[in-house]
């Protein structure tokens, strides 16, 4: 393996923690990040030197996240209920609560409506910034399957967000006028 565990931890901890935190919330992020690195640490000696580390690491994380699919669905629904008090964990920060309450409701709603397989690929692409080939490596899928899931996921997201047309906004109080 070209890198030591410490080097990989130093480089990947923050992005991976952020990725898991956005998917499952702050309270789960610490536990799952630790578990992901613990699995990686245990299997470090088994890692094929020819394989890149990053997709392997996100593959481990993805498997762990799959066990938490109910939590992810709750999280996305909480985000989607803009204006309501979202059921965030007690240890989440004020910014988390603001995040959950105030914004990104349509996006969260659209994400929650995607099939898990498509959401997984889409978020690995957009949030973890893995290439299609890396996602294929990470999820042990054929490259073509990754491309088609990504394309479908993006298209569905676009449709649900109405990105081709006008965006609705219902909570605005705008006043037309001239200075």
């Amino acid at each position: 393996v070209g890198h030591s565990f410490d080097e990989v931890f130093a480089a990947e901890f923050e992005p991976l923690h952020g990725y898991i935190r956005r998917r499952l919330g702050a309270s789960a992020a610490d536990d799952l990040t630790a578990e992901t690195f613990a699995v990686a640490y245990r299997r470090w000696g088994d890692l094929d030197p020819a394989r890149p580390v990053r997709p392997w690491l996100y593959g481990i994380a993805t498997n762990l996240i799959r066990h938490q699919w109910r939590k992810e669905r709750r999280m996305l629904r909480a985000y989607a209920r803009a204006g309501a008090e979202a059921p965030v964990a007690a240890d989440d920060t004020a910014v988390d609560r603001l995040d959950a309450r105030m914004e990104r409701a349509p996006l969260a709603a659209a994400l929650s409506e995607l099939r898990r397989e498509e959401r997984e690929v889409l978020l690995l692409h957009a949030w973890a910034e893995l290439t299609d080939a890396e996602i294929a490596e990470s999820l042990s899928l054929p490259l073509g399957t990754v491309k088609s899931r990504l394309s479908r996921g993006r298209q569905q997201l676009r449709n649900r967000l109405g990105l081709g047309g006008q965006v609705e906004a219902t909570h605005l109080s705008t006043i037309e006028g001239q200075p």
Partner: protein
């Protein structure tokens, strides 16, 4: 297919704050303990015993001869160059990611930020001064243990750890390089590294990881010196929590107030006119920021409620109903990602003295923050932001159109007349 949905997703992801150092260390410890647990099976016991014996011997050697090792005594010489006084004194410089543009001359400048810190290890006292272009921006006193947020830089953490923890710890030589034409050794302690001059052994460059990138600070002074009470006397402004070149800490949200419809917006206020930079004025909206525990509670003393005004410019083809990003963020990064990519907004607040980020902007200039920013290893596109103060107003310009449009708006701002809003 455009990339709008990917952009939205990335901005959604970008709002996540980075975990702190304590979390990082705890998770590292948990992860590596996981291996130890997995190995605690009976058939592995002999190797565990052997490994423990080797580890104990290694620790004993370190305690007896802490500075000798594979680095050939480099750590010891670096420490000798720092000194052994009870006060860690550190001066570092770094280039901010922003630029100031003088609106009269067009001249651009990027004032280098300098941080000077003293940390009294014995009495747990801490002082930090921020200057820019020789101008004192920030002077803080406190205790190191009770430090908050930005008050202690990563470099200070590093040198405090170096000076206090090295004798039983693990600074090690991890590489070589050059800086300013001088050969340096890289010493790593934890997740940060210091570049030590290969001839004088003085630390001259500091870097800490941010995702896959390093953030660099030039070290001007790194010494462990004797205690001098005057080093711990504040002489400048008190407790300024945000520095130029950074976003102010947190958001200041305002709410549009339906009850405000029909009220009169009183002069003086500023406008860039009904059309500027190819955009038309689409809405003029008063907003109110109410002081709460988490909102706008820092900086200069502020009233309980601050009344501001937002001018929203956009393409005539866009729907007016989407015009005002809400909730209002007077620092210019709307939490509504769609609005951020479609509209240009000018926020105006009554001027408040010593309130960042406007405080750090030289008179007659606008501070411009790039529309690209790095969050960990991710580069995300955000609005271009401009800060300036004029005619008794603190102004923020937020636009996705780039620096030229932002400058045209800043140039075009002039006092409007009172009007019914």
């Amino acid at each position: 297919m455009t990339n709008d949905e990917l952009q939205l997703l990335r901005e959604f992801r970008a709002g996540i704050p980075a975990p702190d150092e304590a979390t990082r260390r705890r998770i590292y410890a948990q992860a590596t303990r996981g291996r130890a647990r997995a190995r605690r099976s009976w058939w592995r016991l002999p190797s565990v015993v052997v490994a423990a014996g080797v580890a104990t011997a290694a620790v004993a050697v370190l305690l007896i001869s802490p500075w000798s090792g594979s680095d050939g005594g480099l750590v010891q010489r670096a420490l000798a160059a720092i000194g052994d006084g009870p006060v860690v004194h550190l001066v570092t410089e770094y280039a901010p990611s922003t630029v100031y543009v003088n609106l009269k001359t067009g001249r651009e400048s990027a004032g280098t930020l300098r941080t000077e810190t003293w940390f009294d290890r014995e009495n747990d006292r801490y002082r930090s001064i921020e200057t820019q272009g020789g101008r004192l921006l920030d002077d803080q006193l406190g205790t190191y243990r009770n430090r908050r947020g930005n008050q202690v830089t990563a470099a200070t953490h590093f040198f405090v750890a170096l000076a206090t923890g090295l004798k039983s710890s693990s600074a090690k030589l991890v590489g070589r390089g050059t800086f300013d034409g001088r050969p340096i050794y890289w010493l790593r302690l934890g997740f940060s590294e210091v570049g030590v001059d290969a001839h004088t052994y003085k630390p001259i460059l500091f870097r800490s990881r941010s995702g896959k990138r390093y953030l660099y600070e030039r070290i001007l002074v790194a010494k462990a010196i004797g205690y001098d009470p005057s080093d711990f006397e504040r002489r400048g402004p008190k407790q300024m929590p945000a520095f130029p070149g950074q976003l102010a800490a947190g958001y200041a949200f305002g709410s549009t107030d339906r009850a405000a419809n029909g009220t009169v917006v009183r002069a003086p206020w500023l406008t860039a006119g009904t059309a500027v930079a190819g955009l038309r004025l689409r809405a003029v909206t008063p907003f109110t920021i109410r002081k709460t525990k988490h909102r706008f509670s820092y900086g200069a003393p502020r009233p309980e409620a601050i009344h501001g005004l937002a001018l929203v410019y956009g393409s005539p083809s866009l729907a007016v109903a989407t015009a005002l990003p809400t909730p209002v963020n007077v620092y210019g990064r709307p939490r509504d990602a769609l609005a951020a990519t479609r509209f240009t907004t000018v926020y105006e607040l009554p001027h408040a003295p010593r309130t960042p980020p406007w405080f750090g902007v030289p008179a007659g200039s606008v501070e411009i923050q790039s529309g690209y920013t790095t969050v960990g290893s991710h580069v995300v596109r955000t609005p271009w932001i401009g800060y300036l103060s004029r005619e008794g107003r603190d102004i923020t310009i937020s636009t996705p159109l780039g620096p030229h449009a932002l400058l045209r708006i800043a140039h075009g701002l002039h006092v409007g007349r009172s009007g019914s809003a």
